[in-house]
């Protein structure tokens, strides 16, 4: 090959990559836990503190785990979406009340409605650390084998539910 063409060829390759780069979002952070088994935990439940909430009981089910808190404003945006999803009955949602006051959490659920079939309490945030929670709200889709298949950072929007969560849940149900 003509060596004078070399700079041009390198440049063409770089431009190709830059073009692809424009379609990507460098700020999107992947979770290393996707594809791995969800961390085990056993936490007291919000309503009945005598009982524990543990994912071991959920083997064989596809379920969502939603980290939330009464102090979190993103959770307020997300709440109606969760309510709709819960009412549609397409998937069961479990909640994890993250670094929160019990009284305030209860008031919040009383006011906005409770989309969760069970709510666990993670008062010190230990479960959050094991799941790699950056900030609430975060939602995990967990399959029948207890493997995390998807992680949503930030609030769920109707759009994300329609396009990502529900198709994935359907697929996982049929596996």
């Amino acid at each position: 090959m003509n060596r004078f063409l070399l700079p041009l060829s390198i440049f063409v390759v770089v431009v190709g990559f830059l073009g692809i780069g424009l379609t990507l979002n460098p700020r999107e952070i992947p979770s290393p836990l996707v594809g791995k088994a969800a961390p085990e935990f056993s936490q007291p439940q919000l309503y009945d503190q005598e009982k524990v909430f543990s994912p071991a009981d959920l083997k064989g089910k596809v379920w969502l785990l939603n980290f939330w808190a009464s102090w979190c404003s993103g959770c307020k945006t997300e709440h109606p979406v969760l309510m709709d999803l819960a009412q549609s009955g397409q998937v069961t949602i479990y909640g994890m009340d993250y670094k929160d006051q019990r009284e305030e959490a209860l008031t919040w659920l009383q006011r906005g409605g409770n989309p969760y079939s069970v709510v666990g309490v993670d008062e010190v945030g230990r479960v959050g650390i094991n799941f790699g929670v950056y900030g609430v709200p975060e939602t995990y889709v967990i399959d029948k084998q207890g493997v995390i298949r998807y992680k949503q950072i930030g609030p769920l929007y109707p759009d994300t539910v329609e396009k990502k969560i529900l198709p994935l849940v359907k697929q996982l149900e049929s596996e």
Binding site: F4, V12, V15, F17, G21, P26, R27
Partner: protein, 663 residues
């Protein structure tokens, strides 16, 4: 009304740029001097139009015209005037206007100082610059118009990012852009030469001063940015290998290589093809830097508001300008032929090796900067590349480059001999080695890197001294002063710039080797020691600035019981953007900086505090300014002054003109 005038001026400027980009180049191709003559007035008109637009935007800022979207987004009525004016380049749209303005400023300068150029060359140069300007004007007018109205007008502006409300930020971008855009002149010279097919020594001689000036600005611009990061970000670092810093550093490396390779083309007629490629590369990297900053393809602390539409525009523009010039290069360069032959061990050989090392360093910075993007695009995962990578590839490439920097200026052109060089350099080498090994021991901390750094710095200074002594032996003059004065300024320029590198290396080495820092919790009245210095915290006071409120701490610093200085670091809150800013307090000094920054308030008036003792850190920026001073000396050399004062052709000219001069 005024913003509309600015907008209209930009539209007119685009029309003029189109004319300037097409007619003169076509005229030069067909030999029509009427068309070629369009270049000069068109460039000047374009400059005036963009200046008008720039002035209109400045007026809108000064007048607090919040009906202009850009003004409302980047300033505030509480913001002092000088920062309102600096806010012109505080965000995306205005930065582009500054870019274009500086491009036309360089064009204007070319029209002033190109009297000695042949008409065809000048019209091609201005034509190429006009085409570059078309791209930027089109960009502004289509997707990033700084004069866009906001109707109804905002009652109050959203304010300038508090990080940018700083004197360093007022001058850093214009300096940097002068450098970036300045390489467009060397680029235009190279393209003009490729178009005309006359890559000769004269072309290199004309390009040299322009390239050097741009290089000086870029050097100062980068130094200012680094200094700003040091005192404004509050954690004492001065270089972070952030993608945007790299974006300014790559053109600098390519530009440094270009400055040296131009010298060979000028003096010996060699390296022509390589020099042209470097000229294209330096400007291409400036454009690439603009793309990286504006498009948001990489995460960076400099993240301006990003918009994929803008990214796409710049990418297409980039592909046309760089792709086009590299294609032209591939087409024309094979016909240029090689310059005179030379032995590998000669001044040319060493400059070539130096060039290769600089370009390799540039390539590895480019690779490290784009690597996360490559992996992401190939879906191989997300990573980030940080200082460990850059440090470990950069240092091994620079060490031989700096070693050669000492020998190169002493080697003969064409062919040098090893025994001769060894004889002339043995003292320099001995002195450097011994002092590099012993100095760290005297200072009480011997590490291999510390010794290496000092070795390189002393090597540069001692070899420069030998070079100067030999030079003095060969010039005429009775007294030493007379002989010093008859050494050409371009030679002084080289010595000074090289010594600037030495100063820079001392700074980096000493900071890395001896800096100390402490993170402490301090109650009112408590003391903490770092190095020989004792800091007493006397509590904080609330102060009110023009557009912020602050807690200002008072620290009495003493050494051996005697007070050295009082430092007042601040924690500022800017209410408009609700941002908290750390204003470090620094006591600068030739041999050390003392640096205090406030962390967080704890309770009862106690604060978490960061204390730094940074030996020789100011040498880092001092070195950069000395380098730039060297560049300035080089272009003030007698032959350029004469060439510009006479404004007469220094190249073979049509006999008609020459005869008229005689008459």
């Amino acid at each position: 009304m005024i913003p509309e005038i600015g907008h209209f001026a930009l539209i007119l400027a685009l029309c003029v740029a189109l004319v300037q980009g097409i007619l003169p180049i076509y005229g030069a191709a067909v030999g029509n001097s009427g068309l070629m003559a369009v270049a000069k007035p068109a460039a000047r008109t374009q400059f005036l139009l963009v200046l008008t637009a720039f002035g209109c935007l400045a007026y809108a800022f000064a007048d607090k015209d919040f009906s202009v979207l850009y003004v409302a987004a980047t300033s505030n009525s509480q913001l002092p005037l000088h920062y309102r004016l600096a806010a012109i380049w505080g965000a995306h749209e205005g930065s582009l206007l500054l870019w274009t303005f500086i491009l036309t400023l360089w064009m204007f300068a070319v029209t002033l100082f190109s009297g000695h150029l042949p008409e065809t060359t000048r019209s091609r140069i201005l034509g190429v610059m006009g085409l570059v300007s078309v791209g930027f004007l089109l960009f502004m007018l289509t997707v990033s118009n700084p004069f866009e109205r906001l109707i109804p007008a905002a009652a109050e502006g959203r304010d300038l990012n508090p990080l940018l409300q700083d004197p360093g930020m007022v001058i850093h971008p214009p300096m940097l852009y002068m450098g970036y855009v300045g390489f467009s002149v060397a680029f235009a010279f190279a393209i003009a030469a490729l178009l005309g097919g006359n890559l000769d020594a004269a072309w290199a001689r004309w390009s040299r001063p322009w390239t050097t000036v741009a290089w000086c600005f870029l050097t100062v611009g980068i130094a200012l940015g680094s200094g700003w990061a040091y005192y404004e970000l509050g954690w004492g670092g001065w270089w972070f290998w952030d993608p945007v810093e790299n974006a300014s550093f790559m053109p600098w490396l390519a530009g440094t290589a270009l400055v040296h390779s131009l010298a060979v083309t000028d003096k010996r007629g060699g390296f022509k093809v390589w020099t042209v490629l470097l000229a294209i590369m330096a400007f291409s990297l400036s454009l690439l830097g603009t793309f990286l900053v504006r498009s948001g393809v990489l995460t960076s602390v400099h993240a301006f508001a990003t918009d994929p539409k803008r990214g796409l525009f710049i990418l297409v523009f980039l592909a046309i300008v760089i792709g086009g010039s590299l294609a032209l290069y591939a087409w024309r360069a094979p016909k240029v032929g090689l310059g005179g032959s030379f032995a590998m061990l000669s001044r040319e050989g060493m400059l070539l090796a130096n060039n290769v090392l600089l370009v390799a360093a540039m390539g590895s910075v480019l690779l490290g900067t784009l690597y996360p993007l490559f992996l992401d695009a190939l879906d191989l995962g997300k990573i980030s590349v940080g200082p460990p990578y850059f440090d470990s590839v950069f240092v091994p490439l620079m060490v031989p480059a700096i070693f050669l920097m000492g020998i190169g200026p002493l080697a003969q052109w064409k062919k040098a001999s090893v025994p001769d060089l060894a004889k002339r350099l043995k003292w320099a080498f001995g002195v450097s080695l011994v002092s590099a090994l012993t100095l760290p021991i005297v200072m009480g901390n011997w590490t291999p890197l510390l010794s290496l750094g000092l070795l390189l710095a002393i090597w540069i200074v001692t070899t420069s001294a030998i070079g100067l002594r030999e030079r003095l032996a060969h010039v005429n003059g009775n007294s030493l002063v007379e002989r010093l004065a008859s050494v050409p300024r371009s030679y002084w320029g080289m010595l000074v710039a090289h010594c600037g590198i030495a100063v820079f290396i001392v700074g980096v080495t000493m900071v890395k080797g001896f800096e100390t820092e402490k993170d402490v919790r301090m109650n009112v009245g408590e003391t903490a020691s770092i190095g020989d210095y004792t800091f007493r915290f006397d509590g904080t006071q609330d102060v009110v600035g023009p557009n912020y409120t602050a807690a200002r701490g008072t620290f009495h610093v003493s050494r051996d019981g005697r007070e050295t200085t009082v430092l007042y670091p601040e924690k500022r809150r800017y209410p408009v953007q609700n941002q908290i800013m750390t204003e470090a307090a620094i006591d600068p000094g030739l041999l050390r900086d003392l640096y205090v920054s406030l962390g967080e308030p704890i309770d009862d008036g106690a604060w978490s505090v960061r204390l730094y003792h940074k030996p020789f850190i100011d040498w880092i920026w001092g070195g950069c300014f000395i380098m730039a001073l060297g560049g300035a000396l080089a272009i003030s050399d007698r032959r350029y002054r004469l060439a510009w004062r006479r404004q007469e052709p220094v190249v073979p000219v049509p006999t008609r003109t020459a005869r008229r001069k005689v008459a």
